[in-house]
Amino acid sequence: MASRIRALYPGTKLIIALAIGISAFIVPTYWFGFAAFGLAVIVAFVCGEGKAYLKLVRNSLLILLIFMFVMRLLFSGGKTIYWQWGYMIISAESIAVSLAFVSGVLALGSFLLLFFMLTPVKDITAALSNAGLPPSGTYVVLSAIQMIPEMRKQSATIMDAQKTRGVETEGKLFTRIKAFVPTLGPLILSSIASTEERVITLESRGFTAPVPKTRLYVVTKRRVDTTIEIIVIVAFVAVIAGRIALSLL
């Protein structure tokens, strides 16, 4: 099962993620969004990435969700007031609104995270290539992704270099922040310097040769992918139709 999920065409996976995520905003009950999140977690575990996925969600979405929830909770007004202080009002309506909004963001966010977790960047760029993205675009995306761990390493090295010049980086949080900021300059400078040299490398590999490029690694859309996409799109349209029907009644 896990391998079949992973083997889906990237475009297909994205459509599923977006359909479910956006539906959470359309469907009138906020339970849909929370259920969707539950589904995402299940899928993550089925694919063997459960723990990592939960950690990722916690580190990226959680703060955002809490913030959004509190904002909507306190500033949406409403008639059935439970608590009030100045301009801040907690009411039955504001609770409902904030829950609905948060469930939507949770559903969309968690499915997009799942998408990126289950789809290697190679696959994404290969699919983008199929869709017409030029090789320079592919290159930019791929090297940017690869660069991130490298920049982290470089940042750590620069912090070490700062230490060797007597700059205090350990201790209170404020000290550490104060020490981190000046490392951004060298980090950017050395990234620019190595970018220049990497351009030379690209030239040496014929990157700008005016010939159509071939690709060693490709992803292909299969019939099952197209079938799933059609089903998902139809379901999504049904959801929208249902919502419109509901509001007309």
Binding site: Q154, T157, I158, D160, A161, Q162, K163, T164, R165, G166, V167, E168, T169, E170, G171, P182, G185, P186, L189, S190, A193
Partner: protein, 274 residues
């Protein structure tokens, strides 16, 4: 009890956070004013050793002491005031847009100001030959010159000990000479100089004591003549003799030659016996 050692490692082992063992049971001691070359293949543990000595790494087992204070009792920046370290890649430690500010940064951080600060910058620039480039952007200079800028920036801090990591990589003949003269000058000022290098010829020309590392351990610690004529140790560390020593050996000159004058003398002696 005070010891004459400025830097001391007592049965030190070090593993990275990911579990990778980098150094095993290393015990070494470096006195004030001593100059030492550390040689060995990549992966033998040389850079880990250097970073333990300047406080960037803290030992997993054993103790590292600088001036009788264990490095675990101080922050890296505090140890760095006494033990300077020049990275193998100068681009990892260049922070400023002009050479002058770059050299000034270290001593300034340590609290040096005014005339003394200026003197230090000019002195360090003179020793490394970058005086004419003080207004230049380091990134507009060739790699080997940037290396000298990094060295100058560290020397200007006035530490008690300096560790140079592969200072000769990419240097031409005059660059080698400048580094040699610089080491001599630091020694004369009573500084401890520790140099990690692959260049056996450079070791012969500038150092007396050599520490050989292999497979995360110290396998030899002696004067250069003993080391460069100890073939089993060199083999164990996957190192070669300096070219002239090897040639002398191949010619059967019979004595443990290290440099050109010894070679010529030895050659003459053998020849005249025939």
């Amino acid at each position: 009890m005070t010891s004459p050692a400025l830097i001391r490692l007592d049965d030190v082992s070090f593993s990275y956070p990911n579990g990778h063992l980098a150094l095993e049971n290393v015990s070494l001691s470096f006195a004030r004013g001593e100059s030492v070359a550390i040689v060995g293949q990549n992966g033998a543990g040389k850079t880990s050793l250097a970073k333990l000595m300047n406080g960037l790494f803290k030992p997993s087992l054993g103790t590292v002491s600088v001036d009788d204070i264990e490095t675990t009792k101080r922050t890296s920046a505090q140890v760095a005031r006494q033990v300077g370290y020049v990275f193998q890649n100068p681009d990892d430690q260049i922070f400023h847009n002009d050479v002058y500010s770059e050299i000034e940064f270290g001593p300034k951080t340590l609290g040096i100001t005014g005339d003394e600060l200026e003197e230090r910058v000019y002195a360090a620039a003179a020793l490394t030959g970058v005086g004419p480039q003080l207004d230049e952007n380091p990134y507009n200079l060739p790699f080997s010159t940037r290396k000298f800028v990094a060295i100058a920036s560290t020397i200007a801090m006035g530490c008690d000990a300096f560790i140079f990591d592969e200072p000769t990589a990419g240097q031409d003949q005059s660059g080698m000479r400048t580094i040699g003269a610089l080491i001599e000058s630091l020694k004369d000022s009573g500084k401890t100089v520790i140099t990690i290098t692959h260049d056996m010829q450079f070791v012969v020309d500038n150092f007396d004591r050599v520490v050989v590392m292999a497979n995360r351990r110290v396998v030899a610690d002696a004067d250069k003549r003993s080391i460069f004529w100890n073939l089993p140790v060199l083999e164990q560390a996957n190192l070669k003799q300096p070219y002239l020593s090897e040639l002398a050996r191949d010619l059967g000159l019979g004595s443990d030659v290290l440099d050109l004058s010894e070679f010529v003398a030895s050659f003459g002696a053998i020849r005249s016996r025939r």
